[in-house]
């Protein structure tokens, strides 16, 4: 592939660093891995090979997760018990996905990635309520495992008690989310957030914070495979990791002050735009 710009390695590093700060902040705010911005930026803007982009992205997902989770766990936005339980499903899914990735060509990676982005955009657009959901069906398993929780919601200024349901369905969706993240190097928070929000009925803020927490472990399960396969090029991954770490830390402190709806609306538009580009790239593959 041809070079997009004539730039020196230093210019490349600084540009990628800057984009990654934005990606990290975005990822921390909406509960997705920074990969959802990093992969398209690296492949479309800098014409980096999709495998190196996916390798850098898996690093970015871990950076987003750890950078933001430090704050979210302290603020009790993360439901630690739900996260730990569902990590069984996501890690086994990620293991399956990482090995399939070597067998699937670049073209299908683009198409699958594009379709996942369309799905994420629709799912994110449909979720607009803020408080804890009403009429949550009782769940023996959730009671037994003490998955229910409470957190202080800054936007409404009071503590929200919430209950969790449909644990097996949530776990099944998490396995799928794990496979996708292993395949594409994205944290698939795009699948985790809807699973927790729509199936398990967690409040939206808890869903995004818990997703943020979990995506790091899912990505770590795949990262070892990516590393030994030689997909993590330090020259590409370093500015991504550093930028995303800085961005996610900043973003996690911004969340309380910003309006969730505005961020969500912006991000849906960005997702749709990028998904169209990725699908186009896959469809006209030579």
């Amino acid at each position: 592939m041809m070079e997009a710009f004539n730039m020196s390695p230093l210019e490349f590093v600084l540009l990628v660093l800057g984009i990654s700060v934005v990606a990290g902040a975005f990822g921390a705010l909406v509960g997705l891995g920074g990969g959802i911005i990093v992969i398209p930026a690296l492949t479309l803007l800098f014409h980096i090979d999709i495998r190196y982009a996916a390798g850098a992205s898996i690093v970015s997902v871990i950076a987003t997760s750890s950078g933001a989770a430090a704050a979210y766990v302290r603020e009790r936005m993360t439901n630690l018990r739900v996260a730990m339980l569902l990590e069984i499903a996501t890690t086994s899914g990620a293991l399956s996905g990482a090995f399939l990735a070597g067998a699937i060509g670049g073209r299908w990676l683009f198409i699958v990635f594009g379709l996942i982005l369309v799905y994420s955009a629709v799912a994110m657009f449909r979720k607009r309520e803020d408080a804890a959901p009403d009429h949550v069906p009782p769940s023996w398993l959730a009671d037994r495992l003490r998955l229910h929780g409470r957190y202080f919601d800054q936007a409404v200024g009071r503590e929200i008690n919430y209950r969790v349901t449909h644990v097996p369905l949530g776990a099944a969706l998490m396995y799928v989310a794990g496979v996708v993240s292993g395949l594409l190097g994205i944290g698939s928070g795009s699948l985790k957030v809807p699973a927790m929000d729509l199936a398990m009925r967690l409040p939206i803020k808890v869903s995004t914070a818990t997703s943020n927490f979990m995506i790091g472990v899912t990505a770590a399960a795949s990262a070892g495979v990516y590393f030994s396969r030689g997909d993590i090029d330090p020259f590409i991954a370093a500015p991504v990791a550093a930028g995303v770490l800085i961005g996610a830390t900043l973003g996690s402190h911004l969340l309380g002050r910003l309006k969730g709806k505005a961020i969500r609306a912006t991000f849906v538009v960005v997702l749709l735009f990028i998904s169209a580009q990725m699908l186009w790239k896959g469809i006209r593959w030579r």
Binding site: S66, A70, L145, F227
Partner: protein
Amino acid sequence: MAMNAMPPTPDTGANHADKSRQVEILISVLLRTGVVASLIVISAGMIVTFIHHPDYARSSEQLARLTKPGGAFPRSLGEMTAGLREFQGRAIVVAGLLLLIATPVMRVAVSIFAFVYEKDKVFVIVTSIVLALLLLSFFLGSL
């Protein structure tokens, strides 16, 4: 909702809440430490790389070589250690990246002890399975 009775907890209320809070703080501090440490090592590695290769700040031909498939960089612990002995910038970066990758793994490992401390057998088992799956994926990945 608020009207619903919270499910019974095995430990007595206040004591259990205190322990849960301590665990939250511990996990938060652990994540913060991993983040700061890896950020420092990765940045140091990049600085060393640019000091060793001053032409990277000017030549645009070098970028294609650095980012095209099949580039020469460490992809195993052995190659990384060898690179570190020669004080290679990219080996230092890889060390920082591995530190970053290890952070969630450490978080899971520490959580096992946290649930032991909270006397929560089910979640000791749950978290142990997650750690086992993580270690299995590293083992399979290195084959």
